[in-house]
């Protein structure tokens, strides 16, 4: 599908275009919409956002490249970003992050072969009193340990398998 002409997004795009003084200001919310549609900020999404805002695709791509929440490559179904900044690291986040990569058999930033999980570390997420923590697809999961994480991974695997069966 596309974001232009897609009824799923029409109202939201109009809302963002209306709230700023300039069209250009809507580039960030529109990039989030492109990412939602395609799973990452791909060239199609970039050129559609550029078309809506009367910008050059290069200008839009520079914005996508500047911010860490726009992914310029496909990620796993569950994008796990572990905070390893100082306050979390004082509570064992580095060890937790290393364990999680080993548990899933991936390198930093890598995705599991089944396409389910991408693991990377990120900077402070403003949840320092609930360390270790991560965000999964931008949803916070806090006060983690290995047991809790194993349960979550099992739950997400089951969820993904059920979704796949539902389609098949």
């Amino acid at each position: 599908m596309a974001i232009i002409g897609n009824p799923k997004y029409a109202e939201r795009i109009d809302h963002h275009l209306a709230k700023y003084e300039t069209k250009r200001s809507a580039v960030m919310p529109l990039l989030f919409i492109a990412q939602e549609e395609y799973g990452w900020v791909n060239p199609e999404g970039i050129s559609e956002v550029a078309q809506i805002l009367n910008l050059d695709p290069t200008q839009v791509k520079s914005i996508a490249g500047f911010y860490t929440m726009y992914s310029e490559q496909p990620k796993g179904k569950y994008w796990l970003q572990v905070c390893t900044d100082l306050p979390c690291a004082l509570k064992g986040a580095d060890e937790f992050h290393a364990w999680l990569k080993e548990e899933l058999g991936v390198e930093e930033g890598g995705t599991t072969k089944d396409g389910l999980f991408t693991v990377e570390h990120v900077m402070c997420l403003a949840a320092c009193d609930k360390a270790p923590m991560l965000q999964c697809n931008f949803r916070y999961v806090e006060n983690l340990d290995q047991d809790k994480m194993r349960e979550l991974l099992a739950k997400w695997r089951l969820e993904a398998a059920q979704a796949a069966n539902g389609r098949g």
Binding site: E21, V27, M28, F32, T68
Partner: protein, 416 residues
Amino acid sequence: MHILLRGRDIDNIKQLDVYEGHGGFVGMKKALAMTPAEVIDVVKASGLRGRGGAGFPTGVKWSFIPQHEPVKYVTVNADESETGTFKDREIMEENPYQLIEGSLICAYAIQAKAIYIYLRGEFWDIGDQLDECIEALRAKGYVGENIMGSGYDCEVYTHLGAGAYICGEESALLNSLEGYLGQPRVRPPFPAQKGGGLYKEATVVNNVETLANVPFILSEGADAFKAIGTEQSTGNKIYCVSGHVKRPDNYELPMGTTFRELLYDHAGGPLYEDRPFKAMLPSGGSGPIVPLTDEVLDTPMSYEDCANIGTIIGSASIIVMDETVDMTWVASKVTKFFAHESCGKCTPCREGTYWLDKVIDRILDGRGSPDDVKRIADVAENMAGTTLCALGDFAANPIIHTIRHFPDDFAQHVQT
């Protein structure tokens, strides 16, 4: 008594009727019955200072806005990205109407046409909640045209960032909001001046916690606010405590409370009984680190007293470390943060943070020399004061102050 974290005292204060039932929008009504200049005078008289870190007097900031300009804006800095800071999140999650009311009072005081709340992208669900609050307020006539029948019009919008610490810097935030790279601007013109703010119009940029104090100041009066805290640091402050304490959390206490009371009475003291405190970063990654000596512990947490111990209270994101923590590792962690978050615009910060990170890694690996320790101190000192925004200074702090206070922690890695 909570002025800000009232979600802890009052169930469902995030519902408009409950918020109003507990004094919500009394301050706004009082403000609308005053002239804008009178509102600014009340905020000035309260002594409220910016809670984002710089501590600039809020009423004075508002008074810089030229009254005759036809178009003005308020931008709420809800980018909360300083390492160790998680206070604005709780205000917005648990007491969202108070932030919006404070923002509206600010907007009326400078006669702004609109408010933009700039949230860090990870706070998208808080953004959704704020959008719902804004619509509930619009339905009651508290947002939009002719607010509360006063003839004053103001719109409120939320905007999501997308993961960039630098966007908490006010001019980078404005660039980001305009759809440009989130990089700082050359000043002057300052945001409060025509040509320097949002869409080149005069703009107030205030932190969430700062604005959340404003309804109380208007409803209870400047004197009630001044009665809390110290002479130069009035009101309550939210202290975010993380690291090696028993009870990491947000604590809202009067400014001027001692570090000892916060860290022992409230946060429960050291996480492990046999591992005493060694040091703290009182203002996240960006403020100077200090050893947790008795003198420091007995220091009141105010702007003026923290200056006496060589640090700042800043955003009051207090990261506590016990005796097992190697300060070279701390310097490395904080430097990695700034190397990642440097926006790349100014050469000293872009190159400096990159090379500091490389050299500290070498020291931590045991491949460094005593000269490397001198080298990173030299690089850090040459970064400070040479950049368009404070990130260059912030990035210098962890190096300069860890080496100053904990030289042995570095020396152990570079035995000759």
